[in-house]
């Protein structure tokens, strides 16, 4: 396929020439996704762990909803955030629409259920193993929760990476609430969508290749980190 050849060439030339616009777009993509995943982890980890640990009425319903929300269509999330942040909406006065903050908010909504649902699974398994020991030592629920999150950290890293994957690959939501504004809210995925709509498939694919490489780099870094930390530690 000639398209693949020219796509590779386009990607290569973008990187070789250290295209400034490209750098800006990549940095914004990373900034938005990293912040969104950071916040989503702050919310999703404790929620997932709490659902795993505590028996409360409606617990199963919450677990089912969390799992279902993992498949939330980004466009729907984008639309909801748009309606909330629009000047005509309840949070319009904040003036956040079409800013990176709006994109971060949309991605938080997308990623939190993923992290929470995967965390619930990990923590539930770990709790089976730890419950008696922790209760025997006199751990209060809060402390038990913190201990499980810490001891499950390597498995939870995978949950967080899954969230990052979703955030950085997602286009529907950030397109709607960010607006794909040049130098302001343009990220990798919306830039790709734009090039596709211009019919410049080679450039779009080139950007796609760079996105994939970035994603591999982030995941690889996480695994190296995990490997070093885990060395000599039985699972």
């Amino acid at each position: 396929m000639t398209d693949f050849g020219s796509a590779l060439a386009a990607a290569f030339s973008l990187v070789i020439h250290l295209d400034r616009d490209l750098g800006e777009i990549v940095l914004l993509s990373l900034r938005v996704s990293v912040i969104a995943v950071f916040v989503a982890a702050l919310i999703g980890l404790p929620i997932g762990a709490a659902v795993a640990l505590f028996r409360f009425p409606g617990r199963t319903v919450v677990a089912v909803i969390l799992n279902a929300l993992m498949g939330l269509p980004p466009v729907v999330v984008g639309l909801i955030v748009y309606l909330l942040l629009s000047r005509a909406g309840p949070f319009g006065v904040l003036g956040l629409l079409f800013t990176p903050t709006a994109m971060v908010i949309a991605q938080i909504l997308l990623v939190t259920p993923i992290i929470a649902a995967l965390t619930r699974q990990v923590i539930e398994d770990l709790w089976v193993e730890y419950e008696e020991q922790l209760r025997s030592l006199g751990a209060k629920p809060r402390r038990a929760l913190a201990t499980l999150l810490w001891d499950g950290r390597f498995s939870l890293l995978t949950a967080v990476l899954a969230g990052f994957g979703r955030a950085s690959a997602e286009v529907g939501a950030v397109m709607i609430v960010g607006g794909n504004i040049d130098h302001v809210t343009r990220v990798m995925t919306t830039a790709i969508a734009l090039e596709v709509s211009k019919g410049d498939l080679a450039l779009a694919l080139g950007l796609g290749i760079i996105l994939v490489v970035l994603s591999i780099a982030v995941n690889g870094a996480a695994f190296v980190l995990k490997g070093t930390a885990e060395r000599g530690q039985a699972r």
Partner: protein
Amino acid sequence: MLPKPVWLGLCLALVLSGAAQADDPFITVASTTSTKNSGLFDHLLPRFEDATGIAVRVLAVGTGQAIRLARNGDADVLLVHHKPSEQQFVADGYGVARLDVMYNDFVLVGPADDPARIGGMSDAPAALARLAAAAVPFLSRGDDSGTHKRELALWRAAGIEVGTVSGSWYREAGAGMGATLNTAAAMSAYALADRGTWLGFRNKADLTILVAGDQRLFNPYGVILVNPAKHPHVKAALGQRFVDWLVSPQGQAAIAEFRINGEPAFTPNAAPP
């Protein structure tokens, strides 16, 4: 319910995500993919910014969505191409006034081998009628954009009820101009495109212009300042300067100067001052 470190983290993240956001004066313009994707804005905005120091953030969506954004007060200026909707927008009190800026035209594109034999026709509705008779694939935007609205008007003029044949030879992409052209190119379908997007489009495959020049393919663009009486936060003063500049001799000259692959894409037509 959330512990303290979580709240601290949330605040930190909010600050970070807002950090490094330009606080230069800027306005938000809701416009169409045709103006953005053709490269017109990339040509005009640096000149405007040099002249005024005002940055312009462009939202390139379909005309219908652009109007909805402006109606919600999410843009300061509207630059679109569907005169009836624009006039309605102003009549409803959402816009201050509609001013002519420029025009180009729509073109009927299709596969070069032209199975329906419409190439060279100068009557657009008649050409569409021939497409319907031949039942050759036609790809519609189907997204409530200015181009889509114009296409529907042309079908009406041709006396063809496309609503009933949608899904057979008449297909609705529900997508922007570029995405629609990509699909049309892949399936060798006919389509209506605005000339600006068409000229800048890189994936034409065997598509080519078959019908152009009909009066009814005339495609005027209007600019409207969103009414600050409806939405007090609208940057009326800055937005007005953008409107004024577009219709000024400098702005009009900049539009006339714009070329895509050496061809002029838009003709300025603002009323002389």
